[in-house]
């Protein structure tokens, strides 16, 4: 009976999750928390700033991995199959999409090949009796190959492995989430999303700030410029602005096409949108109505990084 009904279910949760970007989820969660605080009078939620929140959601994982884990990552990334303590148990190491490293009661999982067929990842997780669904979403260049989202049920036992200086995360930190440390006896279900390179014209689903090293606007200062000036400056890099994120007086945002945005409005920030394209965060006032971009906002490093 219910089997007949299920024939009508044209869309699964997994398919649904592909339809909305991590950034859109971040945007919604953040506006909900900003819009209403359960009617408790006289106080506001501890805001971390819209920018910081948004980034936290894009990465979706707390950057709390121990230093030991980071060191281990360096080892497993550097010399597969050549480890003293941990034993690499991934199949055909040189070809593996994932590298599984047994470490006591934990298995560390690192994505070696962010361009492999998703079926390969699933098969490799299954081979290790882990109920982990791995998806790859188009990500802006500097966070390709990193963890952009991590969720599921019973996943509090899973730790995120970070590599220092590997990327500037959406949260503005330099500890880049590159893998997971999963307890051997993990019985929950985890959804893991990694960033992959976008194809030409394909929209990014996960981004860090557009001025981070490796991103389209690295080295440019556009915050505080008028829309007109910023678009001109960005255009010199052959980068275009197809859409704008307009922050209203209430602090909520909306996506506007370029044609609707007055040139004398101000630029608050920029997000990568697609290869060669960015989205500008703009508004009528010189500074956004909501809390200012947080102090932890990454500043471009003086040394220009290569685009890849």
């Amino acid at each position: 009976m219910s089997n007949s009904i299920s024939r009508l279910a044209v869309i699964s949760d997994e398919q649904a999750s592909h339809l909305v970007s991590a950034a859109a989820h971040a945007d919604l969660a953040e506006s909900i928390m900003a819009a209403d605080y359960a009617g408790r009078p006289g106080r506001q939620p501890a805001r971390t700033g819209w920018r910081a929140m948004r980034r936290r959601w894009m990465i979706g994982v707390p950057a709390v991995a121990a230093l030991a884990a980071a060191a281990l990552v360096a080892t497993s990334l550097g010399s597969p199959g050549d480890k003293l303590g941990p034993v690499s148990i991934g199949p055909a190491k040189a070809q593996a999409a994932l590298v599984f490293t047994r470490h006591g009661h934990y298995i560390d999982v690192i994505v070696r090949n962010p361009l492999a067929d998703p079926r390969r990842y699933r098969a490799e997780f299954r081979a290790h009796h882990l109920d982990v669904t791995l998806k790859l979403v188009p990500a802006s260049p500097s966070i390709v190959g990193t963890v952009v989202y991590f969720g599921g049920t019973g996943t509090s036992a899973i730790k995120v492995i970070t590599a220092k200086e590997r990327c500037i995360t959406g949260g503005g930190g330099s500890r880049c989430p590159v893998g997971l440390r999963v307890p051997v006896n993990f019985r929950g279900q985890a959804d893991l999303v990694f960033g992959r390179a976008a194809r030409p014209g394909e929209r990014y689903e996960s981004t860090t700030t557009a001025t981070a090293p490796g991103e389209a606007l690295h080295g440019l200062t556009i915050r505080g410029l008028t829309v007109r000036a910023a678009v001109r400056l960005i255009g010199q890099r052959h980068v275009t602005v197809p859409v704008f994120h307009v922050t209203s007086a209430s602090g909520l945002g909306a996506i506007w096409p370029a044609s609707k945005v007055p040139g004398n409005w101000y630029v608050y920030d920029a997000d990568p949108w697609a290869p060669g394209q960015v989205m500008l965060w703009v508004g009528r006032s010189r500074v956004p109505h909501q809390p200012q971009p947080s102090p932890g906002t990454p500043v471009p490093s003086p040394a220009p990084a290569s685009a890849r």
Partner: protein, 188 residues
């Protein structure tokens, strides 16, 4: 005195963030399976989680969270169907992304017969059958989502299945083969 409040606020946000990230795909899927326009699903997700944020202390933990959220989403959808659409500013970006998605609700052959019979049922019947068939919930979970007893779910589901079988007979001239399982576990 400020410090503990700050901590409570942070704690609250963290709790919400965890709940949101663990359940957003499920609630979006729930909404997309039940709306005709994909961008309406963004409103359902926004309203559902806004309710959850306002009533965070009432949200049950563990497995109960998702069931509670299904219950809220069901009421939001019912309001939407009654025309009480609240196009909040929340979730604009999600709405923009979803507006590009076309939900194909055109069925052919056997699926068309099922769809026709299914659409002829009442909203409560459809909700029961789909919580089993689409969300894969069992009787206890449905009881939690709908806020009624397990026994009530069993009886209502039995009746809904009988009505669906009868509708199938009507629209296709063929009985539903699995009707024999009406007393079986949900999800048969």
């Amino acid at each position: 005195m400020r410090y503990p409040k700050q901590v409570a606020g942070d704690q609250r946000r963290r709790q919400f963030e965890e709940m949101y990230s663990a359940n957003c795909a499920a609630i979006l899927g729930y909404a997309l399976r039940r709306t005709d326009r994909s961008d309406d699903a963004a409103d359902v997700v926004a309203e559902t989680f806004l309710t959850a944020w306002r009533r965070l202390d009432d949200v049950p933990g563990e497995d109960g969270t998702r069931l509670w959220l299904y219950g809220v989403a069901r009421r939001v959808l019912a309001n939407q169907r009654r025309g009480e659409r609240r196009r909040s500013e929340l979730g604009d970006r999600m709405r923009a992304e979803l507006s590009a998605v076309h939900l194909d609700r055109e069925y052919t052959g056997r699926s068309k017969e099922i769809a026709t019979a299914f659409r002829s049922l009442s909203d409560p019947d459809r909700e029961l059958l789909t919580l089993v068939g689409w969300e894969g919930l069992d009787h206890g979970q449905i009881a939690a989502a709908l806020g009624c007893s397990r026994n009530a779910v069993r009886i209502r589901l039995h009746r809904a299945r009988a009505r669906f079988a009868s509708a199938m007979n009507h629209y296709s001239g063929r009985p539903v083969p699995t009707i024999a399982h009406v007393n079986g576990n949900a999800g048969d």
